[in-house]
Symmetry: C2
Subunit: 339 residues, 2 copies
């Protein structure tokens, strides 16, 4: 019913050349005589030929697909990353084979394993909390890898991350300058390296503050526990005047909780969120955020990957980009009354 796709052999026959010659004009590695070249081009045009990339990948032992493994797509930041990667990849003649680890190290391992079965030419990984096995698997396969967003221990991996410590340092410092003396940081996983770096910044800013500043870090798994936590803390005699949350999902939950609890927000409590959600400046008051340099991260990661794929570079490539701390109406100075 459907005519089979023309192959390189069809092109060769129509152009009266060998398949090797067709391959050479296609890949442009070796110069082909002008007349034959034109004949081949014409044949390709006539037949509507396009390469079978499965065959090419098999023969070259590496496909033009790049594997992309992110925790999920519901986070606006990850979605933006995928968006940029797809653009870069397609411009460069690559396709994205995308899998989701759903924050689960075991699933991450399996999904990456699936990617490797396709001999992907490269791999971009936003690691889960415990990516060690996955990293080992990738290293064994010899597949070029770049780790994005969340730094990972062995220093030998190519990584592009952003500087969580200094972003948090700056944010906290500015909160303190506005009179905040009791700051809570709500996180998903204390053990996560990203989180640890943020806590370092938080603690350092508090330590260096001109006044006494109390900080606390809380782990939350879901909306219920987060709401419960806020409910308890905000009713204490000495409640936090500022809350920092580690991602945009938590920001959403917190907003809902503050509403439910009928907290005077942002009058009594200020809010700052990592991971700028797209709705940050749609809500009232507009949400203050730490904005990751998504675009720069993606572009640099791709650069690293290409260099690794073409063996242009040997040593570990690492780069830490600066994040932008943006205070908006969700943060207010602490008035004497509120203290």
């Amino acid at each position: 019913m459907h005519p089979p796709r023309p192959t390189i052999l069809d092109v060769a026959q129509r152009a009266r050349v060998s398949v090797g010659t067709v391959s050479n004009v296609l890949n442009g590695t070796i110069r082909v005589g002008e007349q034959r070249r034109l004949r081949v081009l014409k044949a390709i045009e006539d037949l509507g030929y396009s390469q079978n990339l499965l065959a090419q990948g098999l023969r070259k032992r590496r496909s033009t697909m790049v594997g992309l493994c992110v925790p999920h797509t519901s986070n606006a930041y990850f979605a933006a990353l995928v968006n940029i990667f797809e653009e870069i990849a397609s411009d460069r003649g690559f396709e994205l084979l995308q899998v989701l680890s759903r924050q689960d190290p075991k699933k991450e391992f399996e999904r990456v394993q699936a990617l490797l079965r396709y001999n992907v030419g490269g791999l971009i990984l936003v690691p889960s909390l415990a990516p060690d096995n996955t990293l080992k698997l990738i290293a064994q396969s010899g597949t070029p890898l770049v780790v994005v967003d969340r730094p990972v221990r062995p220093e030998r991996y190519d990584q592009v991350t952003f500087d969580n410590r200094s972003a948090m340092l700056e944010a906290t410092r500015r909160l303190i300058a506005l009179g905040h003396r009791h700051i809570h940081f709500i996180v998903r996983q204390k053990a996560l390296l990203v989180t640890r770096h943020r806590i370092e910044g938080l603690v350092e800013a508090a330590r260096k503050a001109p006044a006494k500043v109390t900080t606390a870090v809380f782990e939350c798994a879901d909306e219920v526990s987060l709401t419960a936590h806020l409910s308890t803390e905000l009713r204490k005699a000495y409640p936090p005047s500022a809350i920092i949350v580690s991602n945009s999902i938590f920001a959403a939950w917190t907003l809902r909780a503050l509403h439910t609890l009928k907290v005077n927000y942002p009058g009594d409590v200020s809010l700052l969120a990592f991971d700028e959600p797209e709705w940050a400046d749609l809500v009232t008051p507009r949400l203050s955020v730490v904005r990751q340099p998504t675009d720069a991260i993606a572009r640099r990661a791709w650069e690293f990957l290409i260099r690794r794929m073409t063996h242009e570079f040997d040593g570990a490539q690492r780069e830490q980009l600066k994040a932008e701390v943006i205070f908006r109406e969700s943060i207010e100075p602490v008035t004497r009354r509120a203290r």
Copy 2:
């Protein structure tokens, strides 16, 4: 440096069987003697063998990858779709080769073409505004296809969409019941089939209303023109008391515009949006929405695709799912004063 991946030949030799036998235990099509089967399994285990899916795809002339083409990922609804598709696909042993059309028919064509070069086993397409060439291309290739979300003309394609007409009918009816008599609908493209169906619902509800109801449809391309439009219309002697926007991006723009224009919202004008954005119930007042049955759409689409891939079904498969109309605080009844 990196030991090459073991091949089926390595497994065969270690298990002292032929490669065909290994293939048979792997694919389970033909029964293999128990002892050999165990030997093969052991060899696979020992070697850490996994199939080269590029080779398999080449030989079978169809890979276990499914192409997914959506307009972009920044829309929460599309992101959710991708999320579900990835889950289903990976559970079934498929990978997702994802491309973005960026709403551009030409880019859509090129990106789908790229997908076809990999001999994807199936294709899921959320079509652009003018997908005809792309659809033709896919049809020619004989690749199983299911069109999602936006219905498309030739009735022969498998499609799972949702019922825009009846969703709009219900929404408008309810607005009218709340006293709204002048309703504006802001869209991206009047020509889009989805839009036309919505307009049908709008017009029908108005026609059947117990009182005289005026409706109007406006096309908008960007935030500036949308803001200008609202500015003009809301200052007229007989301004709309309710605005319906056709997607979540427009909802965001409208919200900003209402704020800028210092409109008494939702007192003087109510707002309803198609495409539930994730921030819908974070804003104040909470946004009223028409919620697509994302999960059901994805699952049904996958079902259609598998059936098509396994040739279990011949005729065109079509399903139209019901959307949910959710009124929240962004919609208020019209008071006599306001009329």
